[in-house]
């Protein structure tokens, strides 16, 4: 049995958010991942993000594929409905769920195997459909759950635990997402909660396809120092595209200590803002060509650029494209959906 419930008693002194809920109310069951697995840190950041944003957990749907990463939704938001689907197919399930009810927040969790190999097609097509969701890849460069085989995001020449170099080029999911028209694309590191947290919050607030590729070391199979997905390597080679990120809630006022010259404010659909503070000259996150250029030139130098890489503040989402009603389709009464016998008589008449 690997289901481990957490004790549900709360310490009375735990802080509460605007909904009167504690962080514990946003947790899930006990993680069964390896101690130190990067995925658990991402789980913690998701819990923190939802708590801080005062999101009603039951209005969130968490959907995943198969893998250690795809198990993670069990470990956060136990008050949300979750769907652990089949390997590589989280995007299609989320698409259907979103079509059925546009009012929920959709958090999709996937792995690099789940997304960049078996599910690459579904990933691409969810991006091009501009599905309103937050898509998080917990990227460890390997297949954790099937014991450490290389995945398609593992960098060329990055060695396996046994020392064999990966002979194939890596797929860079952020570059793909930008190319395919994702409106919000970020990369982060499970070990950098200060950066990850505001990115998750902004991604959730963003209306449209928000993608975060989070490098998330697999301590069991891919954390040897030479691996480019290890804690050590990423700490040494991480270049944040901004030295600080702040997520500013819609109700909060943007305080004045943001310096015009070095900061950019990205407005999100619910009125919240993501403040970016640039290191050096940085790149303009609204310029997709520049974003791809920054990723590529740094990758060539062995540097990983993290932070918000690209954003398009005026993206339409799938429902805008489909022209669906504002009401969730799953809530419309059958009486309104069924045209009835009179209309059918007219149809019969045309077929005579």
């Amino acid at each position: 049995m690997s289901y481990i419930a957490k004790p549900s008693a709360h310490h009375p002194a735990l802080p509460r958010n605007a909904l009167g809920l504690t962080r514990r109310d946003y947790e899930g069951s006990m993680s069964t991942l390896c101690a130190g697995c990067g995925h658990d840190s991402i789980t913690a950041a998701i819990i923190e993000a939802c708590y801080e944003m005062d999101l009603p957990a039951h209005r969130i749907a968490k959907i995943s594929g198969i893998g250690c990463s795809s198990k993670a939704p069990t470990y956060f938001l136990s008050r949300s409905h979750g769907f652990n689907s089949v390997h590589g197919r989280m995007p299609s399930v989320t698409t259907g769920a979103n079509m059925a009810n546009r009012d929920l927040v959709y958090i999709g969790v996937s792995g690099d195997g789940d997304t960049a190999s078996i599910g690459l097609g579904q990933f691409c097509h969810a991006v091009r459909r501009k599905l309103n969701m937050t898509y998080i890849v917990m990227n460890n460069g390997c297949y954790g759950l099937t014991k450490g085989q290389f995945s398609a995001t593992n960098d060329k020449n990055s060695p396996s635990k046994k020392g064999e170099a990966n002979p194939f080029d890596a797929i860079d999911l952020c570059q793909m997402a930008i190319q395919l028209g994702a409106g919000f694309v970020a990369r982060s590191f499970s070990g950098d909660k200060r950066q990850l947290l505001p990115l998750i919050q902004a991604a959730i607030s963003y209306k449209g396809f928000a993608f975060i590729d989070v490098i998330s070391p697999c301590v069991t199979f891919n954390n040897h120092p030479a691996s480019t997905k290890s804690y050590e390597y990423v700490r040494m080679h991480n270049m944040a595209s901004e030295n600080k990120l702040d997520y500013v809630e819609p109700k909060e006022e943007i305080t004045t200590d943001y310096d015009e010259g070095t900061s950019t404010s990205v407005e999100l659909h619910d009125g919240s803002h993501l403040m970016l503070f640039k290191v050096g000259e940085g790149h303009d996150p609204r310029d997709s060509d520049a974003a791809i250029h920054t990723i590529r030139t740094n990758a060539a130098k062995g540097t990983i650029v993290t932070g918000l890489l690209y954003v398009n503040e005026n993206q339409q989402d799938l429902h805008d494209v489909l022209g669906t009603d504002e009401r969730p389709l799953n809530g419309i009464a059958m009486s309104e959906l069924c045209p009835g016998s009179k209309a059918l008589e007219a149809i019969n008449a045309r077929l005579r």
Binding site: T74, F83, S92
Partner: protein, 607 residues
């Protein structure tokens, strides 16, 4: 046997030449004269340039199965002249374009040469018009030869030209040229011809895929995802067509959503996501798509997610015969996916039933919380059928099944005496209660998964729990057997121990064969299956008979296998009757197979 209002006319043409709409006009005109017709389109998997045929059987008696023995051939395709000539029955007719001289090596049929190309070349200068109106010239000739009603034809042409009214005059002109030529050169009408009748009165003419799309609208589907594949494509297209007409608010907002997916895996994934989230949701596909959807179907079965799938079957294996019909997916659908998986199948036998069963499928999916597959095929799906009009009872309330609202969740324990658990069998019918995302701030959330789970949807590796859960899901199948459509039983002779079982598109052939046999003094009983799992009546019928033909359109007698394994019918009494050449089954095939078994001497005599 052919005669007035009883003949088969076949058009041999080239696809992409515009002949399809002309040929449809002939069938529709006869239909509007009140004569039962059944057109069958025999087309290649190709867009332009390959042979295509269109057969129309005319039967005042109302027999709408395909019939062998072509009385009248319209031979417009030089590529297939030889085989088309060979198909005409002795004493039949062959109409051809005599602009180029041609010798037909048969003297037992009547040739009807018309210099169609020359007539058109004289009349029109534009090459495209010359080509297109050729078709209307032969339609005009048929008006005289078969004594078709000109007013009815005009109505049909004007319906087809909706939006392109300025083409009406030229079309009618081409028809007139054909009529004049026929009147002047042949003695019209022929001995086989049409005469106004009553049999088609009150009926409609429609394809099963059109009916299926409409069924999804009436069944309340709001989420559709699909991937193009012959012969299913026109079903989701019909859904969209009807939904755009019937499901748009005053503000112009759509009360439906449809996505053309990147493949069938995604199509079924979207449909399952929608079903999980409380929308009535569906996809449509054919054999190759079923193979791709299998993994997901197992998930929906095990996680108990409602979803509807229309399978418009075609000839297999593999890519097989994309443009020919068959019933070869019975087993692959009944057991789609690995592990112990079983699915509910419905077998409509014509477009009217595709509509009624298609709409019912959405009720059943939510009632049983499982995938429901509507097993149509190319013949039903893509051919026009003369069939009963669609009906809808406005007073029936469509049930959404056991879905709990926030209030019901709160009251659950008080009302049911037990706390709620997603996979608990509270009512003894093996159907648990589900909750939808977003319902209640602190109750009813659970994790849907394809991994083994206990009654509270929690992950488990405990084999006893796993067994308990899959046993309960199997029991749900017993409930399913009591709610799916009952078989149609036709007892022609109470004491008779011989019977035939059939289902789906072979119904017209079976009924016609039963009548013919009865006229020849051979009375046997019949049962038409409408669903899997089999209800009690299926078993009782089989128990009451000793020799049972099982008519199906596949090589491996798949339905027979299901009857043996799932209804425990002794294999020895189930006699396979198989037709799987991709063509709709004929009554003659059924009759001969019955006779060959029961009365070999009569069968030989009938040859």
């Amino acid at each position: 046997m052919s005669g007035i209002n009883d003949f088969v006319i076949k058009f041999a043409t080239v696809n992409g030449s515009g002949s399809a709409s002309a040929n449809t006009m002939v069938a529709k005109t006869l239909f509007r004269m009140g004569i039962p017709v059944s057109p069958k389109n025999i087309f290649p998997s190709n867009i332009q340039g390959l042979p295509t045929w269109y057969e129309v059987r005319v039967s005042e008696a109302g027999y709408v199965a395909r019939r062998d023995g072509i009385d009248f051939m319209v031979a417009m395709n030089p590529q297939t002249y030889a085989e088309d000539l060979a198909e005409v029955v002795p004493g039949g007719w062959l109409l051809y374009d005599s602009s180029m001289p041609r010798i037909w090596p048969r003297d037992d049929i009547t040739l009807l040469p018309i210099p169609i190309a020359q007539i058109c070349a004289k009349q029109w200068t534009d090459a495209r018009q010359r080509q297109l109106f050729k078709n209307m010239v032969y339609v005009g000739a048929l008006v005289e030869l078969l004594s078709m009603d000109m007013e009815a034809l005009k109505g049909v042409i004007s319906d087809q030209l909706k939006g392109k009214e300025k083409l009406m005059a030229a079309n009618l002109q081409a028809v007139e040229l054909g009529r004049t030529y026929a009147r002047e050169h042949f003695s019209c009408p022929l001995s086989i011809h049409a005469r106004p009748a009553e049999g088609a009165k009150g009926k409609i003419m429609v394809t099963g895929n059109d009916a299926g799309g409409l069924a999804a609208v009436y069944g309340g589907a709001t989420v559709c995802a699909w991937y193009p594949i012959t012969p299913s494509t026109s079903l989701p297209e019909a859904y969209e067509k009807y939904a755009r007409r019937l499901r748009v608010t005053k503000e112009g907002k759509r009360l439906f959503s449809i996505v053309q997916a990147e493949d069938e895996l995604a199509a079924i994934g979207v449909a399952i996501g929608g079903g999980w989230n409380g929308a009535r949701s569906f996809t449509a596909t054919s054999g190759p798509g079923i193979s791709l959807m299998s993994e997901f179907l197992g998930l929906a079965y095990f996680a108990e997610v409602p979803v509807v799938l229309f399978n418009i079957q075609r000839g297999g294996p593999s890519t097989g015969m994309p443009t020919r019909t068959g019933q070869p997916d019975i087993i692959s659908c009944a057991y789609a996916s690995h592990g112990d998986t079983k699915h509910v199948l419905l077998f409509p036998s014509n477009p009217t039933e595709v509509f009624s069963m298609g709409a019912e499928a959405f009720d059943l999916a939510e009632l049983l919380q499982t995938p429901i597959m509507v097993m149509s095929d190319l013949d039903i799906g893509m051919n026009d059928w003369m069939t009963d009009p669609f009906t809808w009872d406005d007073s029936t309330e469509q049930s959404r099944g056991k879905v709990l609202s926030a209030e019901q969740l709160e009251a659950f324990k008080t009302v049911k005496g037990k706390p709620w658990g997603r996979y608990l069998d509270i009512d003894g019918d093996a159907i648990p209660y589900r909750t939808l995302p977003g319902t209640h701030p602190s109750m009813g959330s659970f994790f849907t998964r394809g991994t083994s789970h206990d009654e509270y949807a929690r992950y488990t590796e405990d084999g006893r729990i796993h067994q308990r859960v899959i046993d309960r899901i199997r029991r749900k199948f017993d409930t399913a057997a009591t709610v799916v459509p009952k078989p149609e039983i036709d007892i022609r002779d109470k004491g008779c121990k011989t019977a035939i079982i059939y289902f789906g598109a072979t119904r017209p052939a079976a009924l016609e064969a039963l009548d013919e046999l009865e006229r020849a003094g051979v009375r046997i009983n019949a049962m038409r299956l409408k669903a899997f799992p089999f209800s009690e009546d299926v078993k009782a019928f089989c128990d009451a008979h000793d020799h049972i033909f099982v008519l199906e359109q596949n090589r491996d007698a798949q339905m027979r296998s299901l009857l043996i394994t799932e209804a425990d019918i002794p294999a020895t009494k189930l006699i396979p009757m198989l037709s799987y050449d991709g063509m709709p089954t004929t009554a003659a095939f059924v009759r001969k197979a019955v006779l060959a078994h029961l009365h070999p001497e009569k069968a030989a005599a009938a040859e």
